[in-house]
């Protein structure tokens, strides 16, 4: 048996797999940061986000060190099942004075109209701001089709820029662990 040959083959395959998986899904922070979202009507939500006025705003305008974005769809059964966990995540953050000051949570309903997002919000009594994305603008920032739910941890940088610090695709499972993952405490 030609051991060196298979060793080299194994290493080569591992390298290709590692490369392919690492490049599997990425989000362009500059494109994401340019997406315009509707300023909420609710003064409580405006206060939460630290924005004012009317019209639109972009993610880097949110007054937080870290923005956790849930990309969801009202039609997605996994998003429906995860709603309780996302609410718990938001409660955990709001219950911790340090995190409350630094971290904000929002939802973007990709492929969803305002009407559909509102159904989702009411059904699961969601307390953080949620925004429709009926023209799939989030997709334009992604290297591959966006799977729902996808969670992004966005770090706000100087000059109205954001950095994608963490991407989590799929169910949260353990909320405490997930919070650590998103906030870089793991």
């Amino acid at each position: 048996m030609n051991r060196p040959f298979f060793s080299i083959l194994s290493v080569a395959l591992l390298a290709i797999m590692a490369t392919s998986h690492a490049a599997a899904f990425a989000v362009d922070p500059d494109v994401l940061g340019e997406i315009q979202l509707q300023v909420p009507d609710s003064s409580a939500e405006k206060k939460y986000l630290g924005i004012s006025g009317t019209g639109t705003f972009s993610l880097p305008q949110i007054q937080a060190d870290l923005i956790i974005v849930e990309i969801f769809s009202m039609y997605c059964p996994i998003c429906q099942r995860e709603a309780e966990n996302v609410n718990k995540l938001h409660q955990l953050i709001e219950g911790n004075p340090d995190l409350k000051r630094r971290v904000k949570v929002i939802g973007i309903g990709t492929g969803n109209t305002p009407y559909e997002v509102e159904i989702f919000r009411k059904k699961y009594d969601i307390k953080f701001p949620m925004f429709p994305d009926d023209s799939f603008r989030v997709q334009k920032a992604a290297s591959q089709p966006v799977r729902t739910p996808t969670f992004l941890a966005l770090e706000r940088k100087e000059g109205r820029r954001i950095l994608v610090r963490e991407i989590h695709i799929g169910a949260i499972q353990d909320v405490d662990q997930f919070l650590k993952e998103m906030t870089g405490q793991k």
């Binding site: 048996m1 769809s73 109209t113």
Partner: protein, 236 residues
């Protein structure tokens, strides 16, 4: 650059040529394969298999899901039938077996409930796998409009059982139009040439009269508010 995905439970939201499309998907975890390094041929074979599997979704025929797979048929002809039923027509009666084991007839709702017939093309396919979960969380809207949804596909009952189970507990009946194959879809003029049905909505009032017909682009999700708007037009 951000880290790669964790790949636990997810739905895949995919856009194609013109219309975005929704997929349910889950678990791309490849698992842990423990192969002793002293067996390099076996190790290389396993890696080769993992490598091929890892590229499966990229080539687009199947993505793994929570309890099965979503088959991607690619982009299909938007509409492949022509219904003669129009607003104002009497809705053809039918009786089909439900996943619950009951027999459900359209006529049993006459004088009692407005009915939304929701034909979807096939189980375990994109869009279809999310359309009914959407109706599921909008139950109160249908109730408010004194309406029931009847979900219909041409799949057989065991397939529908497995498929709808992963949607959560649906509040409305799901009916199998499997045999005679697609007979109800054909009566409604929404049987496609490949034996699946269109993605079609018929709103039928309590008198059994069709009040809304939407034979939708099979590749796209009908907007919920369009349906609700039609329901709200019905006499209370």
């Amino acid at each position: 650059m951000a880290k790669g995905p964790q790949s636990k439970g997810f739905d895949l939201l995919r856009w194609s040529d013109t219309e975005p499309r929704l997929y349910s998907a889950d678990c791309l975890d490849r698992g842990n394969v423990m192969i002793a390094c002293e067996k390099p041929l076996a190790f290389a074979k396993v890696l080769l298999v993992m490598f091929v599997l890892s590229y499966g979704p990229a080539f687009g025929k199947e993505v793994q899901t929570e309890s099965g797979t979503i088959f991607d048929p690619g982009r299909l002809k938007a509409v492949d039938s022509a219904t003669s039923l129009k607003v104002g027509s009497a809705a053809p009666d039918f009786s089909l077996g439900a996943v619950s084991g009951d027999r459900v007839s359209l006529s049993q709702y006459k004088g009692k409930k407005n009915v939304v017939l929701s034909f979807v093309p096939a189980a375990w396919t994109p869009v279809c796998s999310q359309q009914w979960p959407g109706y599921n969380i909008a139950e109160d809207i249908f109730m408010r409009n004194d309406a029931v949804v009847l979900g219909i596909t041409v799949d057989n009952t065991p397939t529908l059982y497995a498929w709808t189970k992963q949607m959560g507990r649906l509040w409305f009946p799901v009916l199998s139009d499997f045999w005679p194959h697609g007979a109800v879809a054909e009566r409604y003029g929404v049987l496609r040439s490949d034996g699946t049905s269109e993605r079609a909505l018929f709103v039928i009032d309590k008198q059994g009269i069709i009040r809304y017909v939407d034979v939708h682009d099979i590749n796209a999700m009908p907007r919920l508010e369009d349906l609700v708007r039609e329901l709200e037009k019905l006499p209370k």
